[in-house]
């Protein structure tokens, strides 16, 4: 036990560990806020889909030799996000089918393009890092950290300012539109924000973790809590706690960070499911 604490203390003396912790917590917080609405709108898979789209576009940007690939990746992902949100209700292709197609399609094409054009000697390593996150804690640049802080503050303040509107639009879009709230505009803004968060988060923590961060805290919270407010608060707290625990565990056990956080999220979901079950019985 003391050895473990010693190890953690030693690690936390490094600036890059502190930064990784900060960024991890901020990203979890933003994803969890968006996740509540996404899960309730039946868009749980959008994190997965959009991060694969971003992966495919990154591969193409790499093949084109674009250094600042965000210029290409961000607009493409935003367009896909808006398209997916639109197909949600009434379209020729069902929402889930469109999402699955886009997700699998861009994953395949991305990998293909990478194989054909990549000059990197460690291709599978690159692919693995983009999808599953890097093996150990990342060394983040200062601009990455600032970007992350600004983004999280923006997402959080938007969520607080529009909280009641988000609730109403998610609960009953027709009613909300009927009483004169511009539900379509909120959906559009929401689609754009989710795309931005996913693209940026994915560069830092990998595609797998992004989709997990979006769904798990909200789903766990929904097992136990029954009002929108308590679910929101609980999922934000869960996100922060699980990510912190995951990072600590990965330092101690020397496991891949992203995968460890996902494992903690899964464990947390199991605990909350059981709790919910017991509460309903008792």
């Amino acid at each position: 036990m003391i050895a473990i604490i010693d190890k953690l203390v030693e690690f936390f003396q490094y600036e890059f560990v502190q930064y990784a912790m900060l960024v991890g917590v901020l990203i979890s917080l933003s994803s969890a806020l968006l996740g509540v609405t996404l899960v309730l709108k039946r868009f749980s898979f959008i994190g997965d889909g959009l991060s694969h789209v971003a992966f495919g576009t990154m591969a193409i940007a790499g093949a084109l030799g674009l250094v600042a690939n965000l210029i290409l990746v961000l607009p493409v992902t935003i367009v896909c996000s808006i398209f997916l949100m639109k197909t949600g209700q009434n379209a020729k292709i069902k929402g889930d089918a469109a999402l699955a197609m886009l997700s699998v399609g861009s994953l395949g094409i991305g990998y293909l393009v990478m194989n054909m054009f990549s000059k990197s000697s460690n291709l599978s390593g690159d692919v693995c890092a983009t999808l599953f996150g890097s093996r150990s804690i990342l060394t983040l640049s200062h601009s990455d950290i600032w970007l992350c802080i600004i983004l999280s503050v923006l997402v959080a303040s938007m969520f607080i300012l529009f909280y009641h509107k988000i609730f109403s639009v998610t609960f009953d879009e027709d009613f909300t539109t009927a009483i004169g709230v511009r539900a379509k505009t909120y959906n559009l803004i929401f689609a754009i924000v989710i795309a931005i968060v996913i693209v940026l988060a994915m560069r830092l923590v990998g595609a797998l973790l992004v989709s997990a961060l979006v769904i798990f805290p909200a789903l766990s919270a929904m097992r136990v809590f029954k009002s929108f407010f308590s679910v929101t608060v609980c999922s934000v707290m869960l996100a922060v706690v699980c990510t912190s625990l995951g990072i600590l565990a990965s330092i101690v056990a020397e496991t891949p960070v992203g995968a460890t956080i996902v494992a903690v999220d899964v464990a947390c979901f199991v605990v909350f499911s059981l709790t919910g079950f017991v509460l309903r019985r008792g």
Partner: protein
């Protein structure tokens, strides 16, 4: 001055016409019942009045001091709502959103109004309960309380008694009648001709046997054997 006037409305989806050239008006304090077979376009008409759907031609006008965002609406239930974590109080309050504008939070008066509407509909004791765990009849009351928060002038109800037991159905009809007597205009979709002819002041019958007029004319036309 009627509150809602529909002029030469033609409604449909993707070029397929459902209702053509429909005109009628609803005055303050009226109780209009819309009847007709499944698929005759009742819900479509209601969505058009609410501005959720654009008509293929014709127009919906509001007047008599009614603004288009002051229309309360009780929808047919959607699937998403079934497992939604939302307390009754949260749902009822969301009816106040049309008063908020860009203000992010509810004012004290708006919260007060939500409480009063919950009392009025006899659901104050459910305020902290989860919406999805209520019975169908209780859920309808919650949605009705929400609609009352949005307006004190006119309510559009899409099959408010669907799935309710006879007792709850009778209670619901009485509640709606009380609201109507209190001065709120009612437009209700119903499959229950007996209730329609009992409570409504006007009837709109969509489909093959088109009719619009007062209840008495409707009864006369159908030979009094509704």
């Amino acid at each position: 001055m009627p509150q809602i006037t529909c002029q030469n409305l033609t409604l449909g989806y993707e070029g397929k016409t459902v209702i053509s050239d429909l005109s009628f008006a609803v005055g303050t304090g009226d109780y209009l019942c819309i009847v007709g077979e499944n698929g005759s376009g009742k819900s479509t008409l209601m969505k058009t009045i609410l501005g959720l759907k654009a008509p293929m031609s014709g127009q919906v006008l509001t007047g008599g001091g009614l603004s288009p965002t002051e229309i309360g609406y009780l929808p047919q239930q959607t699937v998403v709502q079934k497992d939604f974590p939302a307390s009754v109080r949260e749902v009822v309050r969301s009816g106040c959103l049309n008063r908020c504008g860009i203000r992010p939070f509810y004012s004290r008066a708006e919260k007060q109004m939500a409480e009063e509407n919950m009392k009025k509909l006899d659901i104050a004791n459910l305020a902290r309960r989860c919406y999805r765990e209520l019975s169908g009849g209780q859920q309808q009351r919650v949605l009705l309380a929400r609609a009352l928060c949005a307006t004190g002038k006119i309510l559009l109800l899409d099959e408010p008694v669907a799935g309710l037991d006879p007792k709850a159905t009778a209670d619901m009809y009485e509640l709606i009648e009380t609201l109507n007597n209190g001065g709120i205009t009612i437009i209700m979709i119903s499959h229950d001709i007996n209730a329609a002819t009992k409570y409504a002041s006007h009837i709109l019958h969509l489909g093959a046997a088109f009719f619009f007029g007062t209840k008495l004319d409707y009864l006369d036309r159908s030979g009094g054997c509704a």
